[in-house]
């Protein structure tokens, strides 16, 4: 049943990319436990506007956990305390009356702050651009049922395809590595028959682009813990395997067979 909470928020405020930031403390009263976390932030912003203070910039769009726009560190955890849940799907019933909640932007050097809780995640697009696709110009695809795809392979590919590109994996990683994001897309395509022609070049180019922007993976597994889509860690191992193979195959120009 609905209850109400009184909360103290410590929110990271930063006027712009080059400005220095600081925590501001705000008190909120009468927050319904049925509210989402972002609606609680809406209430804070209404309160700030009424008081003549600039509202906190925080991004969100679909507010149903699929678009990947939202995300911040809540009490030090990417997307907050609830497992497999994006910030927008976190509800205030997960908090208690009197709690202090610390709200920060994604913590990663590769994601510079634009303002307050909004960061620039565009390096993730650069990784996709490097090879996160199957080359099939419009109109050139064969009939959809021409190649049967084993259900297990299709399901495993889907587990990677489900990534929403929110960046929580990077924010949660002590090294700010993007292995889980990159592997999810590589394995989505590498596991499917349609993806075989470009398997090795894709792997090499996406991994190397990733390394231009992000830190290295040391198998902490924090990325998986933070991931709202629960992308499996196995994909990182599969990608490492494919990368080693790719180095050999691409160098020797052995063609594209496995």
């Amino acid at each position: 049943m609905e209850e109400t909470l009184n909360l103290t928020l410590k929110v990271w405020r930063q006027a712009g990319p080059d400005a220095s930031g600081r925590f501001e403390t705000y008190e909120l009263t009468g927050i319904s436990t049925d509210m989402s976390f972002l609606e609680m932030m809406d209430v804070l912003n209404e309160q700030l506007i009424t008081g003549g203070e600039e509202p906190v910039e925080i991004e969100s769009d679909c507010r149903e956990g699929i678009c990947g726009t939202c995300g911040c560190m809540i009490n030090g955890r990417a997307h907050g305390p609830e497992k497999a849940t994006a910030t927008c799907q976190l509800h205030m019933r997960k908090f208690s009356d009197g709690d202090t909640i610390i709200v920060e932007p994604w913590l990663a050097e590769s994601f510079p702050v634009i303002k307050d809780l909004v960061v620039d995640r565009s390096p993730l697009d650069r990784i996709i651009e490097a090879g996160g696709y199957i080359t099939v110009p419009t109109g050139s695809a064969p009939d959809a049922n021409l190649i049967p795809v084993p259900k297990d392979a299709a399901d495993a590919a889907f587990d990677g395809a489900a990534c929403s590109g929110c960046g929580a994996c990077v924010a949660a990683c002590p090294n700010s590595a993007a292995q889980l994001f990159t592997s999810a897309k590589i394995q989505h395509l590498n596991l499917l028959p349609q993806g075989q022609a470009e398997r090795w070049s894709r792997t090499e180019e996406m991994v190397e682009t990733m390394e231009e922007y992000f830190g290295s993976c040391t198998n902490h597994g924090e990325c998986h813990e933070a991931c709202p889509k629960e992308i499996p860690l196995d994909f990182i191992a599969f990608t490492n395997r494919d990368y080693v193979k790719a180095k050999r195959k691409n160098r020797k120009l052995l063609g594209q067979s496995s």
Partner: protein, 640 residues
């Protein structure tokens, strides 16, 4: 002034129109395509697929999105599936049947030739998406699975778990990023279109605001494509994403593009009801739940018992009682209206009495909890996460919410608006769904337009322009529009009133929901036409936007969008008032059958209403395009 609206539907038999038109259209030779620049606004299914395909063809494309990456667009949230007349299930589907169902489902207010083309290219979409690696559901033999959706008599819906929109968008996004990498598409993220540049009656470019720096400038091209989605957020609460807005389409309308059928809105029956006044959006629960859930409310007012303690005799299964043959599976508009009726009678359930029960107790008793979990487990989890209630133990509470808008900018058969050079695709145009969209048809239309229609028809427009330079970005025609956009930004910043943008948006949403919602009548619509402009005037005096226009300022972004929603809302009310009939998602209480169904007036309203901007919101001028139904005979719907 606008003359007769020419839909440019080609002659010939329905089944041959698109094939022969493709042959008759002018071509731009491959070496010349690079001489043409095209602007695409919006990166959803329609925008991303169009930009990627035009990039592949060799055009120089610029893509604009207000999101931080093209992959965020709201197409991503579509759950159910995408229709295609593949007939893989051997159950009698065909291009003609998909065409027929879509025209009928649209309650005879769409353009037959467009719908037929949509059904024709639907099969190519599935091939394309599978080629891209979209992981559609498959059978154990490895072939594609289909399901029946939204009451269709055949299984023609392809799906990817409950995330079909996400997977299709990521497919289009991957094709787009391949073109970005190839250098044929230039990406402008966090950049919002504020206006259209029209020169000598022809669309020549757009004016944008960089949302990070605040910089307002123009971009010009040989053609402009709007793929900017629907206007459902005029209701404030809807299943649309927070940033969805009508601004690009509305500013084009103010520059001369006709806006068609703004009163057509689809209200989806199965959404989670609002929990309090700070509710920011409503979440859709897939319509597939109605296959097993029974919808009811208590017969008694002020019922305080738990649902499971209310005996059957005291439950009102209103859909099963009123529509014995379709029961809980009546079409979306019928299910929605009936929910409103019982809630208005004071029979609603939940703390705010604003919902009806969707009860799985019988299905769980019949099939076992495991079976229900296998079918709907992810939906039940989502429901519990949002409401804190366990739907295995107590019924879900649902209520209708705005979901999709069938109206939009008027386009001809080639998807070109009445302004030469301005093309409109996807939900942003009006053409294919008539007065009501069938389930799993929005994704189909977005991708049909972007992959397989626009890339052909835009060539027909561009071919004769070979050798023409695009308008110079420093041209006075651009500078005037840039200055107007900058002045409007300064005006909004300078109001310095007392209330937040969200407050005004919520108040506007209440008016639109009450007067132009599930049921409309002349009395309410007249009130809307007084109260909406009054609220708009208050907004212009009293909105408060803090901070600066020279950097990221989401209040300013919202203010500019809400300002346009005010004007659209007024046009929507006028359109609803003038369309004195019921059809599909537009229900006028004055026009219903004895059974309470939407009653069309085909003699007077078998046309598209296309509105011309008249200088202010109250002086819009109504034009019409007559609709002819040659292939699909007009009939009255009945679900008894």
């Amino acid at each position: 002034m606008i003359g007769t609206l020419d839909s440019k539907v080609p002659d010939g038999p329905m089944a041959d129109k698109w094939t022969s038109h493709k042959f008759n259209m002018k071509l731009v030779n491959p070496a010349n395509k690079r001489k043409f620049e095209v602007i695409v606004v919006g990166s959803g299914l329609a925008g991303s697929s169009a930009a990627a395909t035009m990039g592949e063809l060799g055009y120089k494309v610029k893509l604009f999105t207000y999101s931080d990456t093209p992959r965020r667009a709201h197409s991503i949230a579509a759950q159910g599936g995408i229709n295609a007349a593949k007939n893989y299930q051997n159950d009698g589907d065909s291009v003609h049947r998909l065409f027929y169902d879509t025209v009928k489902g649209g309650d005879y207010r769409s353009r037959e030739a467009n719908v037929h083309r949509l059904a024709e290219v639907s099969v190519d979409i599935i091939d394309q998406c599978v080629g891209q690696g979209v992981p559609f559901a498959r059978e154990y033999g490895g072939l594609l699975d289909n399901r029946s959706f939204g009451g269709a008599q055949v299984s023609r819906t392809f799906y990817a778990r409950g995330q079909t929109g996400q997977q299709l968008l990521l497919g289009a996004y991957s094709a787009l990023m391949r073109q970005v990498s190839a250098g044929s598409v230039e990406l402008h993220t966090r950049t919002e279109m504020l206006d259209l540049v029209v020169h000598d009656g022809v669309a020549k470019g757009i004016v944008t605001r960089d949302l990070v720096t605040g910089d307002i400038r123009s971009h010009t091209a040989h053609a402009v494509v709007l793929a900017t989605g629907g206007y459902g957020n005029v209701y404030y609460l809807s299943t649309n994403a927070m940033m969805c807005n009508v601004t690009a389409g509305w500013r084009a309308h103010r520059r001369g593009a006709l806006f068609a059928n703004p009163c057509y809105t689809q209200i989806h029956p199965t959404c989670i009801p609002a929990s309090d006044e700070f509710q920011s959006k409503l979440t859709l629960m897939s319509e597939s739940l109605r296959n097993d859930g029974r919808i009811w409310v208590p017969r008694g007012h002020d019922e305080s018992r738990m649902a499971k303690d209310i005996p059957d005799a005291e439950r009102y299964y209103y859909l099963e009682e009123k529509y014995p043959s379709f029961g809980n599976l009546v079409p979306r508009d019928v299910a929605s209206r009936n929910a409103k009726t019982v809630v208005d009678q004071g029979l609603g359930v939940g703390p705010l009495k604003n919902g009806v029960f969707l009860d799985f107790a019988d299905a769980i008793a019949r099939d076992g909890e495991d079976t229900i979990r296998a079918k709907y487990g992810n939906l039940f989890d989502m429901y519990e996460r949002i409401t804190g209630e366990n739907p295995y133990e107590r019924p879900m509470r649902i209520y209708p919410a705005t979901h999709y808008t069938m109206g939009g900018l008027w386009v001809d058969y080639e998807l070109q608006s009445n302004l030469p050079g301005l093309f409109v695709i996807g939900e942003a145009n009006f053409s294919d769904h008539g007065a009501n969209r069938l389930g799993a048809s929005a994704l189909m239309q977005g991708l049909a337009d972007g992959y397989f229609v626009l890339p052909y028809t835009i060539g027909n427009y561009l071919a004769p322009l070979l050798g023409d330079d695009k308008l110079d970005e420093g041209d006075p025609a651009c500078e005037v529009v840039v200055k107007e956009a900058a002045d409007e930004t300064q005006r909004l910043m300078g109001i310095n009133g007392s209330r937040s943008v969200d407050w005004f948006h919520r108040e506007l949403g209440k008016l639109v929901w009450d007067y132009i919602g599930m049921e409309r009548d002349a009395n309410g619509l007249e009130k809307a036409l007084t109260e909406i402009p009054a609220l708009r005037e208050e907004f212009d005096k009293d909105v408060r936007i803090l901070g600066s226009a020279d950097g990221l300022n989401s209040s300013l972004e919202k203010a500019s969008r809400v300002r346009d929603f005010f004007e659209l809302a007024e046009l929507k009310a006028r359109d609803a008032l003038e369309r004195n009939e019921s059809c599909g998602g537009h229900f006028r209480t004055e026009s219903q059958t004895e059974e309470g169904e939407a009653l069309r007036d085909d003699v007077n309203y078998s046309h598209v209403a296309a509105w011309e901007w008249g200088g202010d919101p109250s002086s819009a001028i109504r034009h019409d395009e007559q609709l002819e139904f040659v292939e699909v005979p007009l009939t009255q719907r009945s679900y008894k």
